[in-house]
Amino acid sequence: MAGLSTRHVVLGLLVERPGYGYDLQRRIDARLGFLGLSESAVYKILERLEADGWIEEAGQRRIGATRRGAPRVMYRATPLGRECFNAWMATPCERAVVRDELQAKLNVAKPGDLPELLRIAEVLGRESLTELAAMRRPVLECAVEPDLPWCDAATMMVEDFRLRSLQTLVDWLDAICELMEERIRRTSAAQRRAA
């Protein structure tokens, strides 16, 4: 199994408690927003999970029908689904692959592009600080309190990763900006000497 499996994420939410499509999409949005799963993508995953026998219908709920007026289908994990979930939980994780646009641009830049890249890197650094300023969470200490639901503690831990990634990005941008600035300075000094 390679990479992040959205099927297992949806399955995991149904192992946690039964749910219907829209409810699952909202739970994913709140806790795993970075997946960017749409409601229709969730329905597709539900169909596949049901076809594989990992989940089954747990009856229909008339109250709070879908927007089209159809009854909501509640799903729950089957015993096979729970087994698959446990097996996935115990599988080692792969590291995320970084596909960074600036890294690509650095690699193919012409010497004359440096001032522009420097400016772009500076803008990225400023944006990172803006993102950080918008992140607000209660003290991470709460994550160890047993009375805080685990899903909230987990969200805080994932946020902590985002924060540390931001710091790594900012430190790297700082370093390459310094290098580019110095290189630009030395290049123009060398050009002046040659002229």
Binding site: G125, E141, M156, Q167
Partner: protein, 243 residues
């Protein structure tokens, strides 16, 4: 909004290494108000400590001005600056001038002996220690304290004189995640509950989440967030505090 307690106005500061000018701070402007925790992030050597030293009047800017309570520090005499540092400014750093054998309680009480007598001084020292949750360290010697405990005691030492401005240098450097959260949280409470202005330099970003304002020192420039975005505020049920 009330006038800031501490204001940097277009401050620049350079050091000279031989013939080469190191521009530590370039055109830095920053306001810190009473009741506010402002965090400045920067890597090692980014000028954070210089910023704090300028705020305490230990150094003067090459250009621009630093003012405290509306008065330009450059216009204060050395004696007035010393008075300000003793009465109005608390400087928190882990490598205090403590002797390793001196127990914590007298080391916190020391600056108060003259004004309040030994008993009054110790009583105030004890309540400062209690404020940071370090009462149980009162009898221990500085040398036997952990890094995190030293930060707490240094904070009590700064708070005991009831300053108006706290300057805190890398309080969370090298600490574990729980100690870091606790100390950053204490600094925020100090600002909110006692109306202190707190300027904190931090070497890592997670500690900044407790601050009211965040800034970043990058190649001598003090960056501010471009705009305060809304809609990404995360609220957790059962949280002790929401920012």
């Amino acid at each position: 909004m009330a006038a800031p307690l501490l204001r940097f106005d277009a401050v620049s500061r350079s050091y000279w290494r031989g013939p080469r000018e190191l521009r530590i701070l370039r055109d830095v402007s920053l306001d810190v108000h009473a009741g506010e925790l402002v965090a400045v992030y920067g890597q090692r050597g980014s000028g954070k400590t210089t910023l704090l030293r300028l705020a305490a009047g230990f150094e003067q800017p090459d250009s621009g001005s630093v003012s405290f309570a509306g008065i330009d520090l450059a216009r204060r005499s050395r004696r007035q600056l010393a008075d300000m540092r003793r009465e109005d400014v608390g400087w928190v750093e882990r490598t205090g001038s403590q002797s390793a054998e001196l127990p914590v309680l007298p080391s916190v009480a020391l600056p108060l002996y003259r004004a309040h007598g030994p008993l009054g001084a110790q009583r105030r020292a004890m309540s400062a220690l209690a404020r940071v949750g370090a009462e149980e360290m009162a009898e221990l010697s500085w040398g036997s304290l952990s890094d995190a405990a030293r930060v707490l005691v240094a904070l009590a030492q700064a708070l005991v004189r009831e300053p108006r401005l706290l300057l805190v240098d890398d309080p969370t450097a090298g600490l574990g995640i729980l100690d870091r959260e606790r100390i950053a949280g204490l600094l925020r409470s100090a600002a909110e509950d006692s109306g202190l202005a707190v300027l904190m330099a931090v070497p890592e970003m997670p500690a900044m989440l407790h601050a009211h304002e965040v800034r970043m020192l990058s190649r001598g420039r003090l960056l501010a967030p471009s705009e305060q975005r809304t809609g990404t505020v995360i609220e957790f049920p059962g949280s002790k505090r929401s920012a």
